[in-house]
């Protein structure tokens, strides 16, 4: 999946936005 992307690029591309998605799922589950 990382392909020719550097670790830094891979990290900034996926970690921040997917963390926010995970947070949205977590807060939704807690309120259910």
């Amino acid at each position: 999946m990382q392909g020719a992307l550097s670790t830094a690029t891979w990290f900034w591309l996926f970690v921040p936005m997917l963390s926010v998605l995970a947070l949205s799922i977590a807060t939704w589950l807690l309120k259910k």
């Binding site: 392909g3 020719a4 992307l5 550097s6 591309l13 926010v20 949205s24 939704w28 309120k31």
Partner: protein, 494 residues
């Protein structure tokens, strides 16, 4: 334009008008027309907030920027996602409750006046004037972007594209108000989402898979693969600071105020964030895979990368619907801004100052004609696509964010915020944005929303502290809101 594209566009536009007609029957009073009677389901609130927020930038601007520069463009996406999430997490539910507690306010100027029990009406006048000024130009520049796109891509006359697009938007907004705007946004949001998922998947598959794409891009120019290419720390802060704008955008805050129940907010938040995050990934991957796909024949205009992919990879009948997603992105932003302008004219100026006792029927009629009036003004302004006056729009996102954002947040979380604090904060935020934008060099190159946001908040706090304790009725409403946030139940006013 191929016949497939033409038919797809026609079906799409007729569908939008049909939604307007259905919603016409459901609109009985001004609250229905401006806020859908506060009955939006979480899915509709979520997608309509997303589609109103994301203009043609999502399908044209962002893929174009990634195609031209590579992965260093992701910072703005990260900033927007964080800002949108914080807005949903901290503002949405409280604003939904507080606007109901504060005399059932149906617009942001209405809320500001009622939140501070502002008898001078200065908050209402300032905020309604700012909304009318900036959103008229926002609508106008959205129309120009749509018109130019159709002129360049489909060889359609600019004027024809402008007037047909406007006619359809006005048609459904005039008829069905907020409900029509939200439901069309919902459909438009789905269309945008599907297009942004399907196009990059097919493109990456066609290129031989993700690893193949990154390899090819790296061979063309390794700097495309770097997130830090040509980036300074201040440049990254400036791009991420776009996310600060969310707290003050009236057309997005209106979706929070309209959601059916405060308890629907977590579901709406999840749907909105899912839509936005996958949509942004789609847009980024369209631009990124475009670098590899069009390597032998580079595009003259990078912003057409999505359009070129659609035309090369899909059958004309499918591509018509995928291209309609661009129309959807542009229209779903314009319609929401148009309606916020109409609400400022009707609720905040006409009803507040001219006809206090106007009947609901009269107010809905005034709103409808306000939609036509503003749309005509915006279209006339858009007829000269090179007009310098349209440059005003470049102030809008930062202007709303810096002028209203801190005030909205403080009004929801700080008991001590006063009317004067809010008014001075709005003015300081707006003036800072305008002045900072004229300056350049060193720290002054920072995106103006950052100093505007900070100075607005500081001014609001300082003036409020100097002024002392707000009136008891204001404090009572604040406390009632806090209790409702905890219990989920709004107590009736005494």
């Amino acid at each position: 334009m191929t016949s497939g594209t033409f038919v797809a566009f026609a079906i799409y536009l007729i569908g939008m008008l049909a939604i307007g007609l259905i919603c016409y029957r459901l609109t009985k009073n001004l609250s229905d027309y401006i806020l859908g009677g506060r009955g939006l389901r979480p899915g509709v609130a979520a997608l309509s907030a997303g589609a109103s927020d994301m203009s043609g930038w999502l399908l044209l601007g962002l893929p174009g920027a990634v195609y031209a520069s590579g992965m260093n463009q992701i910072w703005i996406g990260i900033g927007l996602v964080i800002g949108a999430y914080l807005n949903w997490q901290f503002v949405a539910k409280r604003l939904r409750i507080y606007t109901e507690v504060a005399k059932d306010s149906i617009t942001i100027p209405d809320y500001l006046e009622n939140r501070f029990d502002d008898r001078s009406r200065i908050l209402r006048i300032i905020s309604a004037a700012v909304i009318l000024l900036f959103f008229t130009f926002y609508v106008s520049s959205g129309l120009v972007a749509g018109g130019v796109l159709f002129e360049e891509t489909f060889d359609l006359s600019y004027m024809w594209a402008l007037w047909i697009g406007m006619l359809v938007i006005v048609g459904y907004t005039f008829l069905g108000g907020f409900l029509a705007v939200s439901w069309t946004d919902f459909v438009q949001g789905i269309l945008m989402f599907l297009a942004l998922i399907v196009v990059p998947i097919i493109a990456i598959t066609e290129l031989g898979g993700w690893d193949q794409v990154t390899d090819t891009v790296g061979q063309i120019d390794a700097s495309y693969n770097g997130v830090m290419t040509d980036m300074t720390f201040m440049g990254i802060v400036s791009l991420m600071a776009w996310g600060l704008g969310y707290f003050g955008q009236p057309h997005i805050l209106a979706r929070f105020m309209a959601v059916r129940s405060p308890s629907d907010v977590p579901t709406a938040r999840l749907i909105n964030m899912g839509w936005m995050i996958f949509g942004l990934y789609g847009a980024i991957f369209v631009g990124y895979s475009g670098i590899a796909f069009f390597a032998d024949n580079p595009l003259q205009n990078s912003e057409t990368v999505f359009i070129e992919f659609v035309q090369v990879l899909f059958h004309p009948w499918v591509s018509g619907f995928l291209l309609a997603a661009i129309l959807a992105a542009i229209m779903s932003t314009i319609d929401s801004q148009l309606l916020v302008c109409s609400s400022a004219l009707t609720e905040d100026l006409y009803k507040a100052f001219l006809r206090k006792d106007a009947s609901q029927k009269e107010l809905v009629q005034v709103s409808r004609f306000a939609v036509i009036g503003i749309a005509l003004l915006a279209t006339v302004l858009a007829m000269d696509k090179d007009s310098k006056v349209l440059d005003l729009v470049s102030y809008a996102w930062a202007g709303f964010g810096a002028a209203f954002g801190p005030i909205v947040i403080l009004s929801l979380f700080w008991r001590g915020l006063t009317r004067n604090g809010a008014a001075v904060g709005i003015l300081v935020g707006a003036v800072t944005v305008v002045v900072w934008k004229q300056l350049s060099g060193g720290l002054l190159d920072l995106y103006e929303i950052v100093p505007g946001f900070i100075l607005c908040a500081l001014a609001a706090v300082a003036v409020s502290l100097m002024q002392g304790r707000p009136a008891q009725s204001v404090l009572d409403d604040y406390d009632r809101t806090q209790r409702a946030v905890k219990t989920g139940r709004i107590e009736p006013s005494e």
